[in-house]
Symmetry: C2
Subunit: 168 residues, 2 copies
DNA sequence: ATAAAGTTTCAATAATTTTTGAAAGTTTAA
DNA sequence: TTAAACTTTCAAAAATTATTGAAACTTTAT
Protein backbone atom coordinates (compact mmCIF):
# COMPACT_ATOMS: atom_id res chain seq x y z
CA UNK A 1 0.00 0.00 0.00
CA UNK A 2 1.17 3.52 -0.76
CA UNK A 3 1.70 6.13 1.93
CA UNK A 4 -1.11 8.43 0.81
CA UNK A 5 -3.67 5.62 0.86
CA UNK A 6 -2.35 4.29 4.15
CA UNK A 7 -2.68 7.69 5.80
CA UNK A 8 -6.30 8.01 4.71
CA UNK A 9 -7.04 4.51 5.93
CA UNK A 10 -5.44 5.19 9.30
CA UNK A 11 -7.34 8.45 9.77
CA UNK A 12 -10.58 6.72 8.91
CA UNK A 13 -9.92 3.76 11.23
CA UNK A 14 -8.89 6.00 14.13
CA UNK A 15 -12.03 8.08 13.63
CA UNK A 16 -14.23 5.01 13.65
CA UNK A 17 -12.60 3.61 16.77
CA UNK A 18 -13.01 6.96 18.50
CA UNK A 19 -16.69 7.18 17.72
CA UNK A 20 -17.26 3.65 19.02
CA UNK A 21 -15.68 4.72 22.29
CA UNK A 22 -17.66 7.91 22.73
CA UNK A 23 -15.10 10.26 21.22
CA UNK A 24 -16.22 12.58 18.47
CA UNK A 25 -15.13 11.18 15.10
CA UNK A 26 -13.64 14.45 13.87
CA UNK A 27 -11.64 14.83 17.05
CA UNK A 28 -10.13 11.38 16.63
CA UNK A 29 -9.37 12.12 12.97
CA UNK A 30 -7.63 15.39 13.71
CA UNK A 31 -5.63 13.58 16.35
CA UNK A 32 -4.72 10.84 13.87
CA UNK A 33 -3.64 13.40 11.31
CA UNK A 34 -1.34 15.19 13.74
CA UNK A 35 -0.04 11.89 15.08
CA UNK A 36 1.34 10.82 11.73
CA UNK A 37 2.52 14.28 10.72
CA UNK A 38 6.22 14.95 11.30
CA UNK A 39 5.60 18.70 11.27
CA UNK A 40 3.18 20.83 13.23
CA UNK A 41 0.18 21.85 11.08
CA UNK A 42 -1.89 25.01 10.85
CA UNK A 43 -5.66 25.18 11.20
CA UNK A 44 -5.83 25.81 7.44
CA UNK A 45 -3.94 22.63 6.64
CA UNK A 46 -6.09 20.57 8.96
CA UNK A 47 -9.29 22.05 7.53
CA UNK A 48 -8.12 21.26 4.04
CA UNK A 49 -6.82 17.75 4.63
CA UNK A 50 -9.95 16.61 6.47
CA UNK A 51 -12.46 18.80 4.61
CA UNK A 52 -13.89 20.36 7.73
CA UNK A 53 -14.96 23.92 8.46
CA UNK A 54 -12.93 26.51 10.30
CA UNK A 55 -15.31 26.48 13.27
CA UNK A 56 -15.19 22.73 13.58
CA UNK A 57 -11.41 22.70 13.31
CA UNK A 58 -11.05 25.38 15.95
CA UNK A 59 -13.37 23.68 18.45
CA UNK A 60 -11.86 20.27 17.87
CA UNK A 61 -8.32 21.57 18.33
CA UNK A 62 -9.38 23.25 21.54
CA UNK A 63 -10.89 20.00 22.81
CA UNK A 64 -7.75 18.06 21.93
CA UNK A 65 -5.68 20.56 23.87
CA UNK A 66 -8.12 20.11 26.77
CA UNK A 67 -7.50 16.37 26.62
CA UNK A 68 -3.77 17.02 26.74
CA UNK A 69 -3.22 15.26 23.42
CA UNK A 70 -1.93 18.14 21.31
CA UNK A 71 -0.17 21.45 21.84
CA UNK A 72 0.11 24.81 20.15
CA UNK A 73 3.42 25.83 18.69
CA UNK A 74 4.50 29.30 17.63
CA UNK A 75 7.03 29.60 14.88
CA UNK A 76 9.40 32.57 15.00
CA UNK A 77 8.36 35.39 12.73
CA UNK A 78 4.96 33.86 11.95
CA UNK A 79 1.50 34.95 12.96
CA UNK A 80 -0.09 31.55 12.46
CA UNK A 81 -0.53 28.98 15.18
CA UNK A 82 0.74 25.49 14.58
CA UNK A 83 -0.49 22.34 16.27
CA UNK A 84 1.36 19.15 16.98
CA UNK A 85 0.56 15.91 18.77
CA UNK A 86 2.54 14.14 21.43
CA UNK A 87 3.90 11.15 19.49
CA UNK A 88 4.50 8.94 22.51
CA UNK A 89 1.72 6.37 22.36
CA UNK A 90 2.08 5.45 26.02
CA UNK A 91 1.64 9.09 27.00
CA UNK A 92 -1.46 9.22 24.83
CA UNK A 93 -2.92 6.13 26.47
CA UNK A 94 -2.20 7.53 29.92
CA UNK A 95 -3.64 10.89 29.05
CA UNK A 96 -6.87 9.36 27.74
CA UNK A 97 -7.10 7.08 30.76
CA UNK A 98 -6.54 10.01 33.08
CA UNK A 99 -9.21 12.21 31.50
CA UNK A 100 -11.83 9.49 31.23
CA UNK A 101 -11.18 8.43 34.80
CA UNK A 102 -11.67 11.99 35.96
CA UNK A 103 -14.72 12.69 33.83
CA UNK A 104 -16.49 9.35 34.08
CA UNK A 105 -15.16 6.82 36.54
CA UNK A 106 -14.75 9.21 39.47
CA UNK A 107 -18.34 10.55 39.30
CA UNK A 108 -19.68 7.01 39.09
CA UNK A 109 -17.61 5.92 42.09
CA UNK A 110 -19.04 8.84 44.01
CA UNK A 111 -22.62 7.84 43.18
CA UNK A 112 -21.93 4.18 43.99
CA UNK A 113 -20.67 5.18 47.40
CA UNK A 114 -23.79 7.21 48.04
CA UNK A 115 -25.95 4.32 46.88
CA UNK A 116 -24.22 1.87 49.19
CA UNK A 117 -25.69 3.77 52.14
CA UNK A 118 -29.25 2.96 51.03
CA UNK A 119 -31.46 1.79 53.83
CA UNK A 120 -34.37 -0.62 53.83
CA UNK A 121 -35.73 -3.94 54.94
CA UNK A 122 -32.99 -6.59 55.21
CA UNK A 123 -35.62 -9.25 54.46
CA UNK A 124 -36.77 -7.64 51.21
CA UNK A 125 -35.32 -9.46 48.17
CA UNK A 126 -35.37 -6.18 46.25
CA UNK A 127 -33.22 -4.59 48.91
CA UNK A 128 -30.87 -7.56 49.19
CA UNK A 129 -30.28 -7.75 45.45
CA UNK A 130 -29.78 -4.02 45.12
CA UNK A 131 -27.21 -3.86 47.89
CA UNK A 132 -25.31 -6.85 46.57
CA UNK A 133 -25.14 -5.43 43.04
CA UNK A 134 -23.90 -2.08 44.27
CA UNK A 135 -21.36 -3.72 46.52
CA UNK A 136 -19.99 -5.93 43.73
CA UNK A 137 -19.82 -3.11 41.21
CA UNK A 138 -18.14 -0.95 43.80
CA UNK A 139 -15.49 -3.55 44.39
CA UNK A 140 -14.76 -4.00 40.70
CA UNK A 141 -14.69 -0.27 40.09
CA UNK A 142 -12.33 0.15 43.00
CA UNK A 143 -9.92 -2.38 41.52
CA UNK A 144 -10.09 -0.73 38.12
CA UNK A 145 -9.44 2.59 39.80
CA UNK A 146 -6.35 1.29 41.62
CA UNK A 147 -4.97 -0.26 38.45
CA UNK A 148 -5.48 2.97 36.52
CA UNK A 149 -3.73 4.92 39.25
CA UNK A 150 -0.75 2.64 38.90
CA UNK A 151 -0.80 2.93 35.14
CA UNK A 152 -0.86 6.71 35.33
CA UNK A 153 2.35 6.73 37.31
CA UNK A 154 4.11 3.93 35.47
CA UNK A 155 6.63 3.74 32.68
CA UNK A 156 5.42 1.77 29.72
CA UNK A 157 8.13 -0.87 29.75
CA UNK A 158 7.73 -1.52 33.45
CA UNK A 159 3.95 -1.65 33.24
CA UNK A 160 3.72 -4.17 30.44
CA UNK A 161 6.56 -6.34 31.57
CA UNK A 162 4.87 -6.61 34.98
CA UNK A 163 1.42 -7.28 33.63
CA UNK A 164 2.50 -9.75 30.99
CA UNK A 165 4.85 -11.59 33.30
CA UNK A 166 2.00 -12.29 35.67
CA UNK A 167 -0.18 -13.55 32.87
CA UNK A 168 2.34 -15.85 31.27
CA UNK B 1 -31.59 7.22 50.88
CA UNK B 2 -34.62 5.06 50.28
CA UNK B 3 -34.57 2.04 48.01
CA UNK B 4 -36.94 3.47 45.39
CA UNK B 5 -34.86 6.64 44.99
CA UNK B 6 -31.62 4.67 45.00
CA UNK B 7 -32.86 2.41 42.22
CA UNK B 8 -33.76 5.37 40.04
CA UNK B 9 -30.41 6.97 40.71
CA UNK B 10 -28.55 3.79 39.84
CA UNK B 11 -30.47 3.30 36.59
CA UNK B 12 -29.78 6.88 35.63
CA UNK B 13 -26.06 6.69 36.46
CA UNK B 14 -25.62 3.40 34.62
CA UNK B 15 -27.37 4.85 31.58
CA UNK B 16 -25.14 7.91 31.60
CA UNK B 17 -21.98 5.85 31.94
CA UNK B 18 -23.11 3.61 29.09
CA UNK B 19 -23.74 6.53 26.77
CA UNK B 20 -20.31 7.98 27.53
CA UNK B 21 -18.79 4.66 26.48
CA UNK B 22 -20.69 4.28 23.23
CA UNK B 23 -23.47 2.09 24.59
CA UNK B 24 -27.03 3.15 23.95
CA UNK B 25 -28.46 4.78 27.08
CA UNK B 26 -31.67 2.75 27.06
CA UNK B 27 -29.73 -0.47 26.71
CA UNK B 28 -27.63 0.36 29.75
CA UNK B 29 -30.76 1.32 31.70
CA UNK B 30 -32.58 -1.90 30.89
CA UNK B 31 -29.49 -3.77 31.95
CA UNK B 32 -29.32 -1.80 35.20
CA UNK B 33 -32.98 -2.52 35.90
CA UNK B 34 -32.56 -6.26 35.42
CA UNK B 35 -29.32 -6.27 37.38
CA UNK B 36 -30.98 -5.01 40.53
CA UNK B 37 -34.15 -7.01 40.08
CA UNK B 38 -34.28 -10.27 42.06
CA UNK B 39 -36.93 -11.64 39.72
CA UNK B 40 -37.00 -11.96 35.96
CA UNK B 41 -39.16 -9.25 34.37
CA UNK B 42 -41.52 -9.22 31.40
CA UNK B 43 -41.31 -6.82 28.48
CA UNK B 44 -44.42 -5.11 29.88
CA UNK B 45 -42.80 -4.46 33.23
CA UNK B 46 -39.63 -3.12 31.64
CA UNK B 47 -41.64 -0.84 29.33
CA UNK B 48 -43.58 0.50 32.24
CA UNK B 49 -40.71 1.01 34.67
CA UNK B 50 -38.53 2.84 32.15
CA UNK B 51 -41.36 4.49 30.17
CA UNK B 52 -40.22 3.14 26.83
CA UNK B 53 -42.19 1.77 23.90
CA UNK B 54 -42.73 -1.88 23.11
CA UNK B 55 -40.57 -1.68 19.99
CA UNK B 56 -37.72 -0.07 21.84
CA UNK B 57 -37.94 -2.60 24.66
CA UNK B 58 -37.96 -5.50 22.25
CA UNK B 59 -34.96 -4.30 20.25
CA UNK B 60 -33.00 -3.39 23.35
CA UNK B 61 -33.65 -6.77 24.96
CA UNK B 62 -32.54 -8.49 21.79
CA UNK B 63 -29.32 -6.47 21.76
CA UNK B 64 -28.64 -7.28 25.40
CA UNK B 65 -29.07 -10.97 24.64
CA UNK B 66 -26.64 -10.48 21.75
CA UNK B 67 -24.14 -9.03 24.17
CA UNK B 68 -24.59 -12.05 26.40
CA UNK B 69 -25.71 -9.89 29.32
CA UNK B 70 -29.27 -11.13 29.78
CA UNK B 71 -31.26 -14.26 29.05
CA UNK B 72 -34.83 -15.25 28.37
CA UNK B 73 -36.65 -17.36 30.88
CA UNK B 74 -39.85 -19.29 30.39
CA UNK B 75 -42.06 -19.85 33.38
CA UNK B 76 -44.11 -23.06 33.48
CA UNK B 77 -47.69 -22.56 32.38
CA UNK B 78 -47.10 -19.02 31.15
CA UNK B 79 -47.03 -17.62 27.66
CA UNK B 80 -45.00 -14.56 28.52
CA UNK B 81 -41.25 -14.33 28.20
CA UNK B 82 -39.26 -13.21 31.19
CA UNK B 83 -35.82 -11.65 31.11
CA UNK B 84 -33.11 -11.77 33.72
CA UNK B 85 -29.54 -10.52 33.92
CA UNK B 86 -26.45 -12.42 34.94
CA UNK B 87 -25.76 -10.93 38.38
CA UNK B 88 -22.05 -11.82 38.46
CA UNK B 89 -20.30 -8.53 37.90
CA UNK B 90 -17.06 -10.20 36.83
CA UNK B 91 -18.92 -12.16 34.17
CA UNK B 92 -20.49 -8.92 32.98
CA UNK B 93 -17.10 -7.21 32.73
CA UNK B 94 -15.67 -10.16 30.84
CA UNK B 95 -18.63 -10.34 28.52
CA UNK B 96 -18.41 -6.64 27.68
CA UNK B 97 -14.64 -6.89 27.21
CA UNK B 98 -15.10 -9.91 24.96
CA UNK B 99 -17.70 -8.28 22.75
CA UNK B 100 -15.91 -4.96 22.42
CA UNK B 101 -12.67 -6.71 21.67
CA UNK B 102 -14.35 -8.71 18.94
CA UNK B 103 -16.29 -5.79 17.47
CA UNK B 104 -13.70 -3.02 17.82
CA UNK B 105 -10.20 -4.00 18.82
CA UNK B 106 -9.84 -6.97 16.48
CA UNK B 107 -10.83 -4.99 13.34
CA UNK B 108 -8.43 -2.22 14.28
CA UNK B 109 -5.60 -4.70 14.84
CA UNK B 110 -6.30 -6.11 11.40
CA UNK B 111 -6.07 -2.67 9.78
CA UNK B 112 -2.93 -1.79 11.74
CA UNK B 113 -1.26 -4.92 10.45
CA UNK B 114 -2.18 -4.03 6.89
CA UNK B 115 -0.90 -0.51 7.41
CA UNK B 116 2.42 -1.72 8.75
CA UNK B 117 3.21 -3.13 5.31
CA UNK B 118 3.06 0.35 3.75
CA UNK B 119 5.94 1.04 1.41
CA UNK B 120 7.68 4.29 0.60
CA UNK B 121 10.86 6.29 0.79
CA UNK B 122 12.86 5.51 3.93
CA UNK B 123 14.26 9.05 3.80
CA UNK B 124 10.88 10.76 3.73
CA UNK B 125 9.98 12.18 7.18
CA UNK B 126 6.30 11.60 6.42
CA UNK B 127 7.00 7.95 5.83
CA UNK B 128 9.26 7.57 8.85
CA UNK B 129 6.73 9.19 11.20
CA UNK B 130 3.85 7.17 9.82
CA UNK B 131 5.66 3.86 10.19
CA UNK B 132 6.78 4.66 13.71
CA UNK B 133 3.28 5.65 14.84
CA UNK B 134 1.75 2.51 13.39
CA UNK B 135 4.43 0.36 14.93
CA UNK B 136 4.01 1.90 18.38
CA UNK B 137 0.23 1.70 18.30
CA UNK B 138 0.48 -1.87 17.12
CA UNK B 139 2.69 -2.77 20.02
CA UNK B 140 0.39 -1.16 22.58
CA UNK B 141 -2.70 -2.72 21.02
CA UNK B 142 -0.97 -6.09 21.04
CA UNK B 143 -0.29 -5.82 24.76
CA UNK B 144 -3.85 -4.76 25.47
CA UNK B 145 -5.03 -7.70 23.41
CA UNK B 146 -2.91 -10.18 25.36
CA UNK B 147 -4.08 -8.78 28.67
CA UNK B 148 -7.72 -9.00 27.62
CA UNK B 149 -7.22 -12.59 26.50
CA UNK B 150 -5.91 -13.40 29.94
CA UNK B 151 -8.76 -11.58 31.61
CA UNK B 152 -11.31 -13.48 29.54
CA UNK B 153 -10.01 -16.77 30.81
CA UNK B 154 -9.35 -15.72 34.39
CA UNK B 155 -11.24 -15.99 37.62
CA UNK B 156 -11.91 -12.64 39.23
CA UNK B 157 -10.09 -13.28 42.48
CA UNK B 158 -6.99 -14.58 40.71
CA UNK B 159 -6.97 -11.74 38.22
CA UNK B 160 -7.17 -8.90 40.71
CA UNK B 161 -4.90 -10.43 43.27
CA UNK B 162 -2.25 -10.86 40.55
CA UNK B 163 -2.64 -7.40 39.12
CA UNK B 164 -2.79 -5.59 42.42
CA UNK B 165 0.09 -7.56 43.89
CA UNK B 166 2.34 -6.40 41.08
CA UNK B 167 1.32 -2.81 41.58
CA UNK B 168 1.79 -2.67 45.32
C1' DA C 1 -59.68 -23.46 11.93
C1' DT C 2 -59.83 -19.51 14.82
C1' DA C 3 -58.91 -16.24 18.16
C1' DA C 4 -56.36 -14.68 21.94
C1' DA C 5 -51.81 -13.72 23.75
C1' DG C 6 -47.66 -12.44 22.83
C1' DT C 7 -43.54 -10.93 19.79
C1' DT C 8 -41.18 -8.68 16.00
C1' DT C 9 -40.49 -5.43 12.39
C1' DC C 10 -39.66 -1.11 10.36
C1' DA C 11 -41.10 3.37 8.21
C1' DA C 12 -41.93 7.58 10.22
C1' DT C 13 -40.79 10.80 13.83
C1' DA C 14 -38.22 12.71 17.55
C1' DA C 15 -34.12 13.68 19.98
C1' DT C 16 -29.42 14.38 20.06
C1' DT C 17 -25.03 15.40 18.32
C1' DT C 18 -22.09 17.44 15.00
C1' DT C 19 -20.93 20.81 11.63
C1' DT C 20 -21.15 25.00 9.24
C1' DG C 21 -20.16 29.71 8.20
C1' DA C 22 -20.45 34.30 8.91
C1' DA C 23 -19.91 37.84 12.31
C1' DA C 24 -17.37 39.34 16.23
C1' DG C 25 -13.13 39.40 18.49
C1' DT C 26 -8.03 39.67 18.90
C1' DT C 27 -3.30 40.53 17.77
C1' DT C 28 0.35 42.48 15.21
C1' DA C 29 2.85 45.59 12.19
C1' DA C 30 3.26 49.78 10.00
C1' DT D 1 -4.98 54.27 14.56
C1' DT D 2 -5.82 51.40 11.05
C1' DA D 3 -6.10 47.41 8.55
C1' DA D 4 -4.66 42.93 7.58
C1' DA D 5 -4.06 38.34 9.43
C1' DC D 6 -5.68 35.29 12.17
C1' DT D 7 -8.83 33.11 15.91
C1' DT D 8 -13.10 32.39 18.35
C1' DT D 9 -17.97 32.09 18.98
C1' DC D 10 -22.48 30.41 18.40
C1' DA D 11 -27.15 30.26 16.17
C1' DA D 12 -28.84 27.71 12.52
C1' DA D 13 -28.62 23.63 9.56
C1' DA D 14 -27.32 19.01 8.66
C1' DA D 15 -26.33 14.49 9.96
C1' DT D 16 -26.78 10.85 12.91
C1' DT D 17 -28.92 8.00 16.27
C1' DA D 18 -32.79 6.53 19.07
C1' DT D 19 -37.71 5.84 19.69
C1' DT D 20 -42.38 5.17 18.62
C1' DG D 21 -46.43 2.65 17.43
C1' DA D 22 -49.21 0.20 14.54
C1' DA D 23 -49.30 -3.65 11.42
C1' DA D 24 -47.58 -8.16 10.53
C1' DC D 25 -46.21 -12.21 12.34
C1' DT D 26 -45.99 -16.36 15.54
C1' DT D 27 -47.48 -19.45 18.93
C1' DT D 28 -50.74 -21.77 21.76
C1' DA D 29 -55.21 -23.39 23.42
C1' DT D 30 -59.63 -24.67 22.26
Amino acid sequence: MELAAAKLKFIEAWGKLGSEWGINRTMAQVHALLLISPEALTTEEIMEQLSISRGNANMTLRDLIGWGLIEKQHKAGERKEYFFADKDVWNIARQVAKERKKRELDPVLKILNELSTVNGDEKDPEFITFKKSIKDINKLAGNVDKTLETMLKAEESWFWSSVLKVFK
